[in-house]
C-alpha cells in the first residue's frame, strides 16, 4: 500500500530575542521536523524540533541569522549513489524569521 501523507503541514513561529518558538503543526505529517538555521545565508545548524517547541541558537558571533521550521517530506525511498534521497526532501513549513547580532 502506497504511504499517504495528507495535507500540507504549517506552523506559526515567533522570535523573542534569539529564541524561536513554534506553535502546533497543523496537518502534521508526523515525520522529522527541525529548525534550519542559516548565518549570513549559509546553513549552520539543523536541531530537531519535535520534542521541544523552542530553540535558541548558541552562536553569538556577529552576523545575520535566519530560522525556519522544516518537515521531512516523503516521496520515495530512492537514493543516489552517495546515499542521498533523490525525491524526498525537507520542506519549509513556517515563515522565515531573522535577527542580527
Amino acid at each position: 500500500m502506497e504511504q499517504k501523507f495528507d495535507g500540507t503541514p504549517r506552523a506559526e513561529v515567533q522570535l523573542t530575542g534569539r529564541k524561536v518558538t513554534r506553535g502546533t503543526v497543523k496537518d502534521d505529517w508526523g515525520l522529522l521536523i527541525r529548525w534550519l538555521i542559516r548565518k549570513n545565508g549559509e546553513e549552520v545548524a539543523t536541531p530537531p524540533a519535535r520534542a521541544n517547541d523552542s530553540y535558541e541558537h548558541p552562536d553569538t558571533t556577529a552576523g545575520t541569522y535566519t530560522i525556519v521550521l522544516q518537515s521531512w517530506k516523503y516521496v520515495s525511498y530512492v537514493k543516489d549513489a552517495k546515499g542521498e534521497f533523490t525525491a524526498s526532501q525537507f520542506v519549509d513549513i513556517s515563515d522565515v524569521v531573522s535577527y542580527s547580532i
Binding site: 500500500m1 499517504k4 497543523k26 505529517w29 522529522l32 525511498y77 546515499g83
Partner: protein, 459 residues
C-alpha cells in the same frame, strides 16, 4: 473451575484443566459459538466483572535494528554501535535511541523486552508467524492469528468484528504467503477483518461498509432473506462448514448495515488536532483508528506498519542500493519520528480516555538486525536477538526484561521466545491459559499457546 478473564466459572465436569480437556471442547465445537458467548448467554459470566482486556498490536514489518533503537550499545565499536546516540528516558538507567524523544518521556509506561530470539529461520515470514501466532509452521498446518484466537474464545461485542487488521494484510515480504494473519483452522468466522484502504486518504471510506451503488437498504434486506432461504436448504445437507459460512456471512451483513460500525471507522468524527497528533500518514491514522475501534468494542486490532519491505522506506535496513535500500537516513527522517509520534499519541490518548488500563499495547517485529553494520552501511536479518515492548493493561511499565551481550548479538539474561510474548498478551488481556482452551484441528481442545507468560511483566 474455568476462568474467563478474572471470573471463575463452574464447569459441569469438574475443577481441573484435564477435566475441561475431556468434556469442554466437544460442547464448544458442536455449537460453533464462541465460548464466551455461550457462557454469557447461559448467564454464567458477567463481562464487566470479568474485566476482559483489549489489545492493540503494532507490527513493525521489516524489523528495526535493536542496536539502532531500543537496545543501544554506545560503548561498542563504531561498526557495531551504529550512527545514533542514546538518550535518557524518564526511567532512571534506561536509555533508548535519540530519535524517540517523546517515547523517552513515557518510558515509565513501557516494559522493554531486550532478549527476544528465535531459531527457525531468518526470513520475515518466519518471524511474522512466530509473533502473530506463537508458532512457526508450513502450509499444511496453518496456525491462527492471536486476534482470531481471541475472537474464537470471546467472540465479537456488538456488530463489529472481534479482530481487525489495519490498514491491510502483509503482502510480499520475500518468502511466501504465510504471514500468520489468518484464522487458520478456526475458520472463516474468525478471519481478521482487513480495512484494505488507507485511512490517511482525504476521501477515505471503508469499501466493505458501503452498500453498492444502485442498491437500496431494503433491496439488500430482501436479498439477505432470499439467501437465508437458500442457506436453510443447504444446511440440511451440510453441518460444520455451513455453520462457519453462516457466521462469516452474518458478520459481513451486520457490518454492512450497522450504524455503529460506520461510526467506528469514521475518522472524520475526530478533531483535526487529534488527527494531527497521530500524524497525517497511513500509520498514524491507522493507530488512531485502532483506538476508535477498541473504544467501539473491537477486542483485538493489529496495525501493520507497512505491508511490504520492497521499494519503500521501511525498517528493513539492508542499504542494498536496490529495492531494499533503506539506510540510517530513512530511520532518522521518517521511520523513528513517525513511530515516535503515533505511538506516544496512542498511549497518551488511551490514558486520557481511561482506556489504557483495559488495553494492552504491544509493539512487535520479526527479528533483530545484525550486530555489525554491513559493508553498505545497513544491517541484515538477525533472529538471534531483538527488542519488543508492551504497555497498558496490567503490564508494569518502566522496566527492562532481559539483556544482550556487549554487541547485542545474543541474550545473556532472561532469554525470551516469541510464544512467551503471546502468552503474556493473553495473560495481560485477562485470559487464564491454564483453563481457557480452544478447539484445535479435529475439535481437539488445545491450549492457546504452549508457553507461560513472562511473570516479571506484571505488577
Amino acid at each position: 473451575m474455568l476462568n474467563i478473564g478474572s471470573e471463575k466459572l463452574p464447569l459441569c465436569s469438574g475443577p481441573s484443566r484435564r477435566s475441561f480437556l475431556t468434556a469442554g471442547a466437544a460442547g464448544i465445537a458442536s455449537l460453533g459459538l464462541p465460548l464466551f458467548e455461550k457462557l454469557k448467554a447461559a448467564g454464567s459470566v458477567d463481562e464487566k466483572k470479568a474485566k476482559i482486556k483489549n489489545c492493540i498490536t503494532i507490527f513493525l514489518v521489516g524489523s528495526p535494528g535493536q542496536l539502532d533503537t531500543w537496545d543501544m550499545k554506545p560503548d561498542a565499536p563504531e561498526n557495531v554501535r551504529g550512527k545514533f546516540k542514546p538518550t535518557k528516558t524518564n526511567v532512571t538507567g534506561v536509555q533508548i535511541c535519540e530519535h524517540f524523544p517523546l517515547m523517552a518521556k513515557m518510558m515509565d509506561k513501557v516494559a522493554l523486552i531486550r532478549s527476544l530470539h528465535h531459531k527457525t529461520g531468518a526470513t520475515h515470514e518466519n518471524g511474522q508467524r512466530w509473533m502473530m501466532t506463537g508458532h512457526d509452521f508450513n502450509a499444511d498446518s496453518v496456525k491462527p492469528h492471536i486476534g482470531s484466537v481471541v475472537s474464537r474464545v470471546f467472540g465479537p461485542k456488538g456488530d463489529l468484528p472481534a479482530n481487525v487488521i489495519l490498514p491491510g494484510p502483509i503482502g510480499n515480504t520475500g518468502a511466501g504467503p504465510l504471514h500468520g494473519q489468518t484464522a487458520g483452522y478456526l475458520g472463516s468466522a474468525h478471519e481478521p477483518f482487513f480495512l484494505n484502504d488507507d485511512p490517511a486518504k482525504n476521501n477515505f471510506k471503508v469499501t466493505d461498509l458501503e452498500v453498492p451503488a444502485g442498491e437500496s437498504a431494503s433491496r439488500l434486506d430482501n436479498r439477505k432473506r432470499l439467501l437465508e432461504q437458500v442457506d436453510d436448504m443447504q444446511r440440511r445437507t451440510e453441518t460444520k462448514s455451513t455453520t462457519m459460512h453462516d457466521a462469516a456471512y452474518q458478520r459481513a451483513f451486520r457490518l454492512l448495515t450497522s450504524t455503529e460500525a460506520k461510526r467506528a471507522f469514521n475518522l472524520g468524527e475526530e478533531k483535526n488536532t487529534v488527527r494531527d497528533r497521530y500524524g497525517r500518514n497511513t500509520f498514524g491514522q491507522s493507530c488512531l483508528m485502532a483506538r476508535r475501534l477498541i473504544e467501539s468494542g473491537v477486542r483485538f486490532v493489529t496495525v501493520n506498519h507497512f505491508d511490504t519491505v520492497f521499494n519503500l522506506s521501511c525498517w528493513d535496513m539492508h542499504a542494498d542500493g536496490g529495492g531494499l535500500n533503506n539506510t540510517y537516513l530513512d530511520y532518522e527522517r521518517m521511520l523513528c519520528p513517525q513511530f515516535d509520534w503515533a505511538y506516544t499519541a496512542l498511549l497518551q490518548d488511551l490514558q486520557d480516555r481511561g482506556m489504557l488500563e483495559d488495553t494492552v499495547v504491544a509493539v512487535l517485529s520479526e527479528f533483530g538486525r545484525t550486530p555489525q553494520v554491513n559493508g553498505r552501511g545497513g544491517r541484515d536479518h538477525y533472529p538471534a536477538a531483538w527488542t519488543n515492548f508492551l504497555a497498558g493493561g496490567n503490564i508494569k511499565g518502566g522496566q527492562v526484561i532481559g539483556a544482550t551481550d556487549k554487541i547485542g548479538s545474543r541474550p545473556i539474561d532472561s532469554p525470551v521466545e516469541p510464544p512467551q510474548i503471546l502468552a503474556s498478551i493473553y495473560h495481560a488481556m485477562g485470559i487464564n491459559l491454564d483453563t481457557t482452551m480452544m478447539p484445535g484441528p479435529g475439535d481437539r481442545p488445545v491450549r492457546l499457546v504452549e508457553a507461560e507468560p513472562i511473570r516479571q511483566l506484571f505488577s
